[in-house]
Symmetry: C2
Subunit: 247 residues, 2 copies
């Protein structure tokens, strides 16, 4: 389905099951529509790869006692970590601190390699919200961040892909059980979306539906079983996930 | 195609184009066969994810001045880095030292999560050879290893998947332009294949055709444009790739 409307008037509109429909063509609609509140949204898509950027807001870098890096810090999350809106984040039994990290997620459309910043926006299909869930104790213990950030359910994505969106200066906010924890703006990104696409695509080919997680602002903190974490990015909606203990 | 035979008598046998053929069923053969020398092998498959293990041979850990870690060090390579036998490893212009790293690669069959070591071998489809190509200067500079190990062409895989193979004690050898550089045995793996499958699948779900790179023995070193790097694992064949400069 596609999501149409604005503010409180969002509706899900059914897309016809047409084999010629792709993310790059205008879909055919069946005419069936539901109020968004009556719909359970699934993961909007499964990205082939998830390229993440660390310490891309200065205040977040310093809150964890790190210096602000000159070049972007690149790492990967496995796509087996992806869950959709409303799905449970499962805390692994071998970690004693698992943090939320609100991030603007860039969904690649055309892809390619060696994409210059000036042409980077043409390679973007749209934007969504990601939670770069992190086992903070494992991140510190391992050196490499793959285990700490790679557990199943550690990459909530959604609620949908917004294809008509300017990422340069919007509010990004995290609430944990309704209490505001992160509250920043994407204008504070140290390396903006075009710069990240240029940097990453000089290393590895970007494929359609690959995702770039652009880094988290200050205010990260731990989640406990029974809590709900909600990330809102102005213009992209809200990504909410309950937290449970994995047994 | 499948590869049949032993030693110098290897032949490629054509598999019938039957939509019911999967890696988990016995294929139907057309009867057509070619001597292996007359065949150009492509990448045997595209893994959904490539989970790598660092410092899994004690002598290699210490040759780079590192301690031997207690738990496996896990990291990911993007599957956009995969190339097949004979394809060119392209040295990026922004690195001054790119090393070969010979590794036994485990190809997952059934997959799953929380796979205990005792049952791990049942989840393996087969084995092949990988070269965990690494820009050593970028690895040191970045802290995270993703850029250093994630460049396009930095994951040669092949020459084929061997489904009838005991990985516990075979020779692994790297030659650079015919000169032996790495020469070890898989019996020296600090964490063996069942232990790695248990460790990784406790974090992330393993999917069919995911690959585990089990770490490299001592003797890593740089490659120059014009050279050819060849990795031989006893029972798995030889993976050879020429090295060129990316312009």
């Amino acid at each position: 389905a596609a999501i149409h409307g604005e503010g409180d008037d969002l509706v899900a509109v059914e897309i016809a099951n047409d084999p010629n429909t792709t993310p790059w063509t205008d879909p055919t609609f069946t005419g069936t529509r539901w109020p968004l509140a009556d719909v359970r949204l699934l993961t909007p898509f499964l990205p082939p790869k998830i390229v993440c950027i660390g310490r891309n807001y200065a205040e977040h870098a310093t809150e964890l006692g790190n210096e602000v890096p000159e070049a972007p810090i690149m790492f990967l999350k496995p796509n087996t970590a992806v869950i959709g809106p409303g799905a449970e984040i499962k805390l692994p039994p071998d970690s004693s601190r698992v943090d939320f990290e609100a991030e603007l997620a860039v969904v690649i459309g055309v892809g390619g390699r060696d994409i210059p910043a000036e042409r980077a926006m043409a390679s973007v299909l749209g934007y969504t919200i990601a939670n770069d869930v992190t086992a903070r104790d494992q991140q510190k213990a391992d050196g490499q961040w793959t285990r700490a950030k790679g557990h199943d359910t550690f990459c909530p994505l959604g609620p949908w892909i917004e294809t008509n969106f300017d990422p340069s200066d919007v509010a990004i906010r995290t609430e944990l059980d309704g209490e505001v924890k992160q509250d920043s703006r994407t204008s504070l990104l140290l390396h903006d979306v075009p710069a990240l696409i240029e940097y990453i695509s000089a290393v590895m080919t970007l494929r359609p539906l690959d995702v770039i997680l652009t880094g988290t602002p200050a205010g990260v903190g731990p989640m406990e079983p029974g809590q709900t974490v909600s990330i809102t990015i102005e213009g992209l909606g809200t990504l909410s996930n309950p937290v449970v203990q994995r047994v």
